[in-house]
């Protein structure tokens, strides 16, 4: 049961990373929510806004966890990611594990590799296993992929395939820090003469602690009304005049070509649970769903070209949906949760 220990651990980690990554505090917390929901994280932003630093900081802050890094380049091959059989003189061909066999995988500049190479990550991100030459090998648990990328309109990049995009639980966007934060960065850099610094040991968590927290997230209660709200949100993004599962009278946003997947539904629920736990609560409220909806859903929406031309962003579409959809009424939820007596109704899920 997540309680104050979860919140304490979470805050400890967040403040440790926050010392390295100035500004973007909200992004750091979202990234950690993603970590504890055991989801893969995609960090996006222009060059020089500490995307890679954030990825490294997350990896460092868990002691005892293996972390490896792949610098994605256009000439990178799938076997460079997954590993391959290596013939050594006088020996049987031996499997040389690739960098994915680790706990935290940093995939830097992921969109600089060709789609062929990017696809090498599909299996491991989806199923936490690697199949090479007919042999399937599991990667260690937990397995998290933290990727960074520049927005796709830069030259020499390949946009991520949809299947790949969908496997990321969240996409967070980092921006240039404001003046005060940038002053901090500058001061710190000048005094330390090294960039970036290290996370102080007292602010790290052990791998065991992180695993316990990950399993605690699954215990966060999601009320039926909150589940309904969550389904309302995903249904509202979907195709068709009244997309499958959407409520009567709802129309799909005109800018959207493809709505979000069922994987997104699960990811949204899990992220909401982790967000609730990070606030020290044992239950997920509609606020938690709202807080994570944009990073969880926005990157999965496929917008029409006309909408993209107009400058409409997926984040804006999701934000508008959240603004329009009614949240569950606390009165009705309480009535459903609590039976006539003082006992909660049978808990579902």
């Amino acid at each position: 049961m997540p309680d104050t220990t979860f919140k304490a651990g979470f805050d400890q980690l967040a403040s440790g990373i926050g010392q390295l990554i100035r500004g973007n505090g909200q992004v750091v917390r979202l990234a950690l929510v993603c970590l504890f929901a055991e989801g893969h994280l995609l960090i996006e932003g222009p060059p020089g806004v500490a995307k890679t630093s954030l990825a490294k900081a997350i990896a460092q802050s868990v002691t005892g966890a293996g972390h490896k890094r792949i610098q994605f380049t256009p000439d990178l091959l799938p076997s460079d990611v997954t590993g391959s059989r290596v013939y050594r003189q006088g020996a049987e061909p031996e499997f040389e594990p690739g960098p994915v066999f680790t706990n935290i995988l940093i995939a830097d500049e992921i969109n600089r590799a060709s789609p062929r190479t990017q696809s090498a990550l599909l299996e491991v991100m989806g199923e936490r296993q690697v199949t090479v030459d007919g042999e399937t090998r599991a990667v260690p648990a937990p397995f998290l992929c933290v990727a960074t990328q520049n927005p796709a309109d830069h030259r020499g990049t390949f946009p991520l395939p949809e299947a790949q995009i969908d496997r990321f639980m969240m996409k967070v966007t980092m921006t240039t820090p404001d003046r005060a934060a940038e002053m901090d960065v500058l001061t710190g850099a000048l005094s330390r003469r090294a960039l970036p610094g290290e996370i102080p040991p007292g602010r790290r968590l052990s791998l065991g602690q992180v695993q316990a927290m990950i399993s605690a997230v699954r215990d966060v209660r999601v009320d039926d009304s909150v589940k309904g709200y969550l389904l309302d949100i995903v249904a509202a993004t979907r195709t068709g005049p009244a997309g499958p599962g959407s409520r009567r009278g709802q129309r799909q946003p005109p800018e959207v070509v493809t709505g979000v997947s069922t994987r997104a539904t699960l990811a949204l629920a899990l992220a909401a649970q982790a967000h609730a736990a990070s606030a020290g609560r044992a239950y997920a409220a509609p606020d938690d769903v709202k807080a994570v909806a944009v990073p969880v859903l926005a990157h999965r929406l496929v917008l029409s070209e006309a909408a993209a031309d107009r400058g409409v962003t997926a984040a804006a579409v999701i934000a508008r949906l959240l603004d329009r959809l009614p949240v569950p009424s606390p009165e009705q939820a309480a009535r459903a949760t609590w039976q006539a007596g003082d006992t909660p109704a049978a808990r579902v899920g």
Binding site: D287, T313, R324, A334, W338
Partner: protein
């Protein structure tokens, strides 16, 4: 109101309106109701437009949009260009697509949805769609409601005044709304404006506070008791001016300061209903006016529902383009429904004036018919009045004073209902070849209340004696004055006199519900119909039959000393005499017999008591003066022919004097003591009238008959009207009590039912309702925590220097301690399974009470009225 609530309200209002229209006999209301019902189904309110945000100069895009520096700026939406927007924000592609109106892009931070509460109370009305068009529509609609008073007032001089009042009210309300005066100040401004408008429009600049106040308080009663057409004098005009002013001011204020879709139209409809109730007593219906009003109000509602398009050229056309089909269809359906339902004859419909007795205090006159003989038999004929007739050398020889239309078997009485009247009188039935006469009457000694006039009066002019009110029944054409003695009264009356010989040869007798009272024959005795058939044998046309009856009656001997009485029994003796004594009669009996025989033949007829015109005493130019004395008292009959009006028939031949034997005082049916004894003052004292059957002497129901409002017509018409009033009253009570009871019951349920967690959440719901009453928009996509944060930011805003909070913000600021304290517990109880416990639930309801106290620090009782079923915006979705 941007939810379906508005449609439900519109539908309910439409049903009530149409129902009231059917019940009270107003097709105009049916039309409005049906059109509104169509609109309720068809109008779907649009989402409110995004509020414009002031642009700011700067190099950073975020700062142009008023966002904090460093915010992530993404496209949010498009909106129309407003003066002051940066030109570089114009989206030229979208502009081209939308036909030329410049469109700008709006940007925002995706992670911090900055959609705030949009308070829709008085403090922050938000943008109003097409304010100028709305105000113009309201002013036009109100000017249109003034048309209703057209049948009420003599002449149309009131119309420009009322239109000016409507325009003035709308203009003042616009200025007040523009200046954002506080509600109290706005009300004060409206009251002052009303005083000025009343001063200019009603009192015409003559400053007379006393008269103004009288008109202000007594105007409505004066309107209800006066007979149309009324003079546009201050007491009459004041009430329409008040209605128009208040409706215009309130409607525009609501239109510009609130987001209620229906409010302005509802207020104008109220003015329409008031106008119908007060002024639509004339038989004409106002379907055309109601249809035009429906068009205007539907257009107004369309604009307010945000359904008006923005394309096109002319602003009005642009506003109405997509709704024109709807408006036309709704009005057409309403018109058809109104014509099809046609609830009742327009003349029969209910008006509030049926409930208000006229302030005419008429002396209870004795049976006027029996007074004929009393006067004739006076030994010294006294001059009653002199009448100077201008306009013809040959005036009709009979001057009518009283029309008697109802017969109960023994007595004739009048069912006239007199209304206070101005100088101009309602027009009577058309008379072919009628000639206008002017008569100056000077009364010497005449018992009230009837004012004699030769012909159908069209206008009566002072000088009357001060303090005497003139009454008029437009149905019978009889004038009265509310004085017991008319001695000294002078008046000039303009009449339409029928031609001496009306060409009645082929004229049909009157028929239909309007003349039904003049065909009533109680009991319809067989001997009467048989006698009538015998008299009229061989005659076809109504006129010929009446002439035959008249000939038969004129053959009877006449003497004022004959046995009196006009009962069936006495008249049968008269018409089928056993002795010569029985066969002798006088004008009153002949007139009564003629009327009964005519009715038996199916021809509407009535008895008239009045005076014969003597020979003129002086002739000056074309003015002849006649001194009328008691010896000239007379009675005759009138029959109704459409197109010719009431035509006189004189069934008495006064030259045919009965022999002395017929007048023997020992006639068996006459009691000696009842023999009329001429005595001074006899005419003004009610005396039992001797009739043939002694048991029916001066039967109580008919004796005081000629007083106002006692006739059988209004009495029978009053029942459905009373039912309609009762139904409306019940509806009104339900409309107030229903929501109130619902609100109370919900509160009780929330407070006492279920587990502590449910009661805690109930307290939260109740708090939100209290906040909604103050204009805070809650619910929708806003979570518990977000509302608490909103309240916290209102507290923070208060601490900023020079802060001026809007009303909803103030409410949130006061509610903040209670909201913040409860938010976590509510979320835990609702979405977690955290049991708050009894104590917390109790505390929550105490907080709820404290919150109400905090919200309404002053005028708590007044604000309490908001819970009395007054619809307030609540729980709206953004």
């Amino acid at each position: 109101m941007t939810s379906r609530r508005a449609n439900v309200q519109l539908g309910a209002a439409a049903a009530v309106l149409a129902g009231a229209g059917v019940a009270a006999g107003y097709p105009e209301l049916v039309l409005l109701g049906a059109a509104s019902a169509v609109a309720a189904v068809a109008i779907r309110p649009a989402a409110p437009p995004p509020s414009p945000r002031p642009p700011r100069p700067g190099r950073d895009r975020a700062r142009w949009q008023g966002l904090p520096r460093g915010a992530d700026v993404v496209f949010r939406s498009l909106r129309y260009y407003q003066p002051g927007d940066r030109l570089s924000l114009i989206d030229w592609r979208a502009t081209a697509r939308r036909g030329g109106s410049p469109v700008v892009r709006e940007f925002g931070d995706p992670r911090e949805p900055d959609e705030a509460l949009v308070p829709e109370g008085a403090g922050n009305p938000g943008p109003v769609a097409r304010p100028a068009t709305q105000v113009a529509l309201i002013a036009t609609a109100l000017a249109l409601t003034a048309v209703l008073y057209g049948g009420f007032f003599a002449g149309w001089g009131f119309l420009p005044r009322l239109a000016a009042v409507a325009a003035g009210a709308c203009a003042l309300a616009t200025v007040v709304a523009w200046a954002r005066l506080a509600p109290a100040a706005a009300t004060l401004a409206g009251a002052i404006g009303l005083a000025v408008a009343a001063e200019l429009a009603v009192l015409s600049g003559g400053l007379d506070p006393g008269a103004g106040w009288d008109a202000l308080t007594g105007g409505w009663a004066a309107m209800l008791t006066v007979a149309a057409p009324a003079p546009d004098s201050p007491p009459m005009l004041m009430f329409p001016v008040i209605v128009t002013w208040v409706a215009g001011y309130a409607s525009v204020a609501v239109a510009l300061r609130a987001r209620s879709v229906l409010g302005p139209a509802a207020i104008v409809t109220g003015a329409q209903v008031t106008g119908l109730a007060f002024a639509a007593n004339q038989p004409a219906t106002h379907l055309l006016q109601a249809g035009a009003l429906a068009v205007l109000l539907l257009a107004l509602t369309l604009i307010r529902a945000g359904r008006a398009a923005r394309r096109g050229h002319h602003p009005l056309a642009r506003a109405l383009a997509p709704g024109i089909a709807l408006v036309a269809a709704a009005t057409a359906i309403g018109l058809l429904t109104a014509v099809a339902s046609r609830p009742a004859d327009a003349a029969q419909r209910f008006t509030p004036r049926q409930l208000l007795a006229a302030p005419l205090r008429l002396p209870s006159a004795r049976s006027p018919l029996s007074s004929v003989r009393d006067q004739v038999r006076k030994p010294d004929p006294a001059t009653l009045f002199t009448i100077a007739i201008t306009g013809t050398t040959d005036p009709p020889p009979l001057i009518a004073a009283v029309a008697l239309d109802s017969f109960d078997g023994t007595q004739w009485s009048s069912s006239d209902s007199y209304r206070v009247s101005g100088p101009v009188l309602a027009p009577g039935p058309p008379v072919a070849g009628g000639m206008p006469l002017t008569e100056r009457v000077t009364v010497r000694a005449l018992a009230g209340p009837y004012l004699p006039a030769d012909g159908w009066p069209a206008r009566i002019d002072a000088p009357l004696r001060p303090g005497i009110l003139v009454g008029f029944d437009p149905g019978s054409g009889i004038l009265v004055a509310d004085a017991a003695s008319l001695a000294g009264v002078r008046y000039t009356v303009t009449t339409t006199a029928p031609p001496a010989h009306a060409p009645l040869a082929d004229a049909a007798a009157g028929s239909g519900p309007a003349v039904a009272p003049y065909l009533r024959l109680p009991g319809k005795p067989g001997w009467l119909t048989a006698l009538a058939r015998k008299m009229t044998r061989g005659q076809r046309s109504p006129d010929a039959r009446l002439q035959a009856i008249q000939r038969s009656l004129r053959a009877l001997p006449v003497t004022p000393d004959a046995a009196p009485g006009v009962s069936y029994g006495r008249l049968r003796q008269l018409l089928q005499p056993a002795t010569a004594q029985e066969g002798a009669g006088y004008a009153d009996q002949h007139a009564a017999a003629f009327t009964l025989l005519a009715r038996a033949e199916g021809i509407p007829a009535r008895v008239i008591m009045g005076y014969r015109l003597p020979s003129p005493s002086s002739v000056r130019g074309d003015t002849r003066t006649y001194p009328v004395t008691t010896a000239d008292a007379y009675a005759w009959a009138q029959a109704y022919f459409p197109g010719h009006g009431w035509v006189d028939f004189d069934p008495t031949d006064t030259g045919n004097v009965a022999s002395a034997a017929a007048t023997a005082p020992g006639a068996p049916s006459v009691r000696p003591s009842a023999q009329p004894q001429p005595s001074p003052g006899h005419a003004s004292t009610p005396a039992p009238v001797p009739t043939a059957p002694p048991t029916t002497v001066a039967s109580p129901p008919s004796a005081p008959a000629p007083t106002a409002g006692h006739g059988p017509g209004p009495a029978t018409a009053g029942l459905p009207a009373a039912l309609a009033v009762a139904a409306l009253a019940v509806l009104g009570v339900l409309a107030v009590a229903g929501p109130t009871a619902f609100i109370r019951r919900r509160r009780r349920r929330r407070r006492h039912q279920g587990s502590p967690a449910q009661r805690l959440a109930g307290a939260w719901g109740e708090m939100l309702d209290r906040l909604a009453d103050t204009g805070v928009v809650t619910g929708g996509s806003q979570t518990v925590r977000e509302l608490a944060d909103q309240a916290a930011s209102a507290v923070a805003a208060r601490q900023a220097p020079g802060a001026r909070l809007s009303r909803p913000e103030r409410a949130l600021e006061r509610a903040e301690p209670y909201l913040t304290g409860l938010a976590t517990a509510v979320a835990g109880a609702a979405f977690g399974d955290v049991d708050p416990g009894e104590e917390a639930a109790r505390q929550a309801w105490e907080d709820e009470r404290e919150l109400t106290k905090a919200l309404y620090r002053r005028w708590r009782a007044v604000h309490g009225a908001r819970h009395w079923g007054i619809p307030v915006p609540r729980r709206r979705r953004r």
